[in-house]
């Protein structure tokens, strides 16, 4: 680290004016980044990590203001800089990449043109060579066939490709500092790996400094020189990446590290205090769900209508999202279904949940072929109450106009028999079962935290004592410490109520914790299947090995 840091933040305090008075989102934060250094700011949601970076860029929303402190960027005090000069600085000296790459790109302009726009605006290219420069830039972020991709629209590119284009845009003007705010959240592990490697490689090659904002301690440690840990608006620990993993000094850092699923740790190891170990899991019983030759096809869109009009038959075969898969789930067993986005795992779970009709194949639940009942009529089937689901996004899956109590009571009202006081008592019993304080039952979803919403979703799913619960990435939207609690809760409930789980996830470490067996899916087919220890410990398929290798590993 050089003597004079590139970016130096001292005593930064940011306040937000809300209807309940002033809230301090960031309090007396100090951090500095040297030239060529990569710094990670790690924290859970609400820790103030994003607000800190917004304050540095001076893009806080109207309610927020920098109450105290100084921000110095290569000798300039950013806090007092006129807005006009600040505007020149953004994108020119300091660039930023955000979480959702697709939202950051103009959807109706080819990506190559968007890169050209930035190059022209900042005088990095003239009219004559803009196009050639844009293709070069695309090449530098390792987009295959850059001359072709130049004409592509953002919707034609995958999430990882879009993020690469965003990185290309951010780096087009050779800034000195890159701020990356959760750049890989929402991307697959393999994509995350290539994007992060690209960022670190490019910044190193250009002598740039990077500020990485993330909730993932593992990611931070694997790709950064130093790590700053934030909690509730304050910096609790600053250390080098290797030191923080070897000897975390602050209690919060230790708790965070403890809660992160990792090889060699059991479910109980994630919780702060030593909870009583689980009783041994029962031996799985008879098969509950048997899936055979399940296929889901979607007709291919695009150009076919014109072709049909012109009398040409559509030659293209329909797209097979799920391509003849088969597996079984026994009573009391947890089966993990892992794969990257687009592999068909969600489609599979939707078909098992009977929200989607399969094209072919059999879904036998307790001997009955429920796949033959059309999805629209399944609501009145007797099997409906026996298969339930916990959704990926706890916010999206709760009706914003229903209170928590009403959400939990809904399945009982529709499919159960309890009414009146008995129903209210059952709702409270369910709430206590999932650890939701009864006082919160009257609240609406937007008044609950992510973890509380997840509990409401779980309570709703188990309200009818289902035999099979499909868990669709139930913890993907949660902080690690909340995830640790929810995963433990799910396992406890399973043991107590004797349910079977189909656990759909992209996170192998989480699957390892919760599942007995695991299915690895790729492009609509199951590439590997077996006991979780064997598949993740000694994978047979090359794809499984690739997935495992892509998980960020902290420096040893």
């Amino acid at each position: 680290m050089s003597a004079v840091p590139l970016l130096d933040v001292r005593d930064l305090t940011v306040e937000f004016a809300t209807r309940r008075g002033t809230v301090r989102a960031v309090e007396r934060v100090d951090l500095s980044i040297g030239k060529g250094e990569t710094l990670a700011v790690v924290g859970e949601s609400g820790s103030g990590k994003s607000v800190t970076s917004y304050a540095v860029m001076r893009i806080l929303d109207r309610a927020g203001r920098i109450a105290a402190g100084t921000v110095t960027f290569s000798g300039m005090a950013l806090r007092d800089l006129p807005e006009g000069e600040m505007r020149d600085l953004r994108g020119w000296e300091i660039s930023m990449i955000f979480q959702n790459p697709r939202a950051a790109l103009n959807p109706i302009r080819p990506v190559g043109r968007q890169i050209e726009d930035v190059l022209l605006q900042h005088g990095q290219a003239g009219r004559g060579n803009a196009r050639a420069r844009a293709v070069e830039v695309l090449e530098s972020v390792r987009i295959a066939r850059p001359a072709e991709r130049y004409h592509a629209y953002p919707f034609e590119l995958s999430g990882g490709m879009c993020q690469r284009v965003v990185i290309a845009l951010a780096l087009a003007c050779r800034p000195q500092l890159l701020i990356a705010d959760e750049p890989t959240t929402g991307l697959d592990v393999t994509t995350q790996k290539s994007v992060m490697e690209l960022v670190t490689e490019l910044t190193r090659a250009r002598g740039m400094s990077t500020l990485l904002i993330t909730h993932d301690l593992g990611l931070a440690a694997a790709y950064c020189d130093r790590v700053v840990v934030m909690e509730k608006g304050r910096v609790v620990e600053t250390a080098s990446a290797s030191a923080i993993f070897r000897a975390p000094s602050h209690a919060y850092t230790r708790r965070l590290m403890r809660a992160t699923p990792r090889p060699g740790a059991g479910l109980r190891d994630l919780l702060p205090e030593g909870a009583a170990p689980f009783p041994p899991a029962p031996i799985p019983g008879a098969p509950l769900l048997v899936v055979e030759g399940l296929v889901k096809e979607y007709p291919r869109a695009g150009g076919s209508l014109l072709g049909r009009l012109a009398g040409r038959a559509p030659a293209e075969a329909p797209f097979r999202a799920v391509d003849g898969i088969g597996f079984e789930i026994r009573r009391g067993e947890s089966v993990g279904l892992v794969g990257e986005s687009g592999c068909g795992k969600s489609t599979t779970s939707m078909m098992i949940m009977r929200l989607l009709d399969p094209t072919a194949g059999r879904i036998a639940f307790d001997g009955e072929d429920i796949g033959a009942i059309p999805a629209r009529r399944f609501a009145s089937s007797a099997a409906r109450r026996r298969i339930q689901m916990v959704f990926q996004d706890p916010t999206d899956s709760l009706n914003p106009r229903h209170s928590a109590a009403r959400a939990i009571a809904d399945p009982i009202r529709r499919l159960g028999t309890l009414r009146g006081a008995a129903l209210a008592a059952r709702v409270e019993e369910l709430a206590s079962l999932v650890g939701l304080p009864a006082a919160l039952l009257d609240r609406f979803p937007h008044q609950l935290s992510g973890g509380q919403k997840a509990r409401v979703g779980i309570a709703r799913a188990i309200a009818l004592n289902p035999e099979l619960v499909v868990l669709d990435e139930p913890t993907a939207a949660l902080d690690v410490s909340v995830q640790a609690v929810v995963l433990n809760l799910l396992h406890e409930l399973k043991l107590r109520l004797g349910m079977s789980y189909l656990f759909v996830s992209h996170d192998l470490n989480v699957v390892r914790l919760l599942c007995d067996r695991v299915l690895v899916m790729r492009a609509g087919a199951i590439v590997e299947e077996g006991p979780v220890e064997r598949v993740l410990g000694n994978p047979a398929a090359a794809y499984t090995r690739e997935l495992l290798a892509a998980i960020p590993h902290p420096p040893a």
Binding site: A379, R384, F391, D396, N399, D442, F444, H446, G457
Partner: protein, 295 residues
């Protein structure tokens, strides 16, 4: 949906919450507060106007015809010597009534059709969509004229005509909103908890698009008032001597050239104020009914 009293545990009075929230929204947004005051004033005129006005709005007096505004007749008198202030105030009930019922009608019919179209898709969508397209193919005011001319010159038919011309707007908005929510997580969750499609439509989708529809209702209220007045202005709809803003403007228009400006001005102002009020109201209304903004 039968609300279960036992489930509504110690809810801190929902009405009180709403009131507190409304006060918060109004305090932070003076324009909305102003439009609310204006609305209260208009409603006051509509409800109490006939018993408050100083003169009988129908009583003509040839001796006092076309008098300029004075202490006795604040807004002056018209060609038959009727008090314009009284007529303007009394007309509020009829004009707001027509607007309200036409908006309620189009909300029920157009909103439901649109939600069904967006939610079910397929044939429902095609039929509703083509119906809306057909209506939109006509100039709206001409269509309203046609409806009133065909059905007959009554207040009920003005309500129907105004509702018909607004149908595409409501159907399209409701359709778009339902389309977005059709596969939302909570709709899927409602399917899993055993709700049939029709029940999901009515108890899950519809309440969630109410805030957006409420804004639309407020905005179309203004348009509906203009539409009703416009129909009366050209001689369709409400007939003289019933006090109604559109007719009064129409009657007064011929006197503007001879210098009796007050005959047309005051009903015109009332019309403008009412439309203005409902347009301002729209956004404030959304903030109040949207639970996301309640904390």
């Amino acid at each position: 949906m039968p609300e279960n009293p036992a489930l509504a545990l110690p809810r801190p009075s929902a009405a009180g919450n709403l009131l507190r929230h409304a006060r918060y929204v109004l305090a932070g947004n003076p324009v909305t507060a102003f439009s609310f005051l204006l609305l209260l004033f208009l409603l006051g005129c509509a409800l109490l106007g006939p018993s408050l006005v100083p003169h009988d709005p129908q009583a003509s007096n040839a001796l006092r015809a076309l008098q300029a505004p004075s202490a006795q007749h604040l807004f002056g008198t018209d060609q038959l010597g009727r008090d314009i202030l009284s007529r303007v105030v009394v007309a509020t009930r009829l004009d707001l009534g027509i607007a309200f019922f036409s908006v309620a009608l189009v909300f029920a019919v157009g909103g439901l059709a649109g939600v069904a179209a967006g939610f079910f898709g397929g044939w429902t969508d095609r039929i509703v969509g083509r119906l809306a397209d057909t209506i939109m193919a006509f100039p709206l005011f001409v269509l309203a004229m046609g409806v009133v001319a065909a059905l007959g010159n009554t207040v009920t038919n003005i309500v129907i005509a105004t509702a018909v011309v607004n149908f595409p707007l409501y159907a399209r908005i409701a359709r778009g909103e339902a389309l977005v929510r059709r596969n939302a997580g909570y709709v899927q969750a409602a399917r899993l908890t055993g709700n049939g499609e029709l029940r999901i439509l009515l108890t899950t989708i519809l309440p969630n698009i109410l805030p957006i529809m409420a804004v639309q209702m407020s905005l179309t209220m203004g348009y509906a008032i203009l539409n009703a007045a416009g129909l009366s202005f050209i001689g369709l709809g409400v007939r003289p001597p019933t006090p109604e803003w559109g007719i009064m403007v129409a009657e007064g228009a011929s006197f503007i050239v001879s210098g009796e400006w007050w005959v047309a001005l005051f009903p015109g102002l009332a019309l403008m104020l009412a439309v203005f009020c409902f347009n301002l109201l729209g956004d404030g209304l959304r903030d109040i009914v949207d639970p996301q903004r309640r904390t």
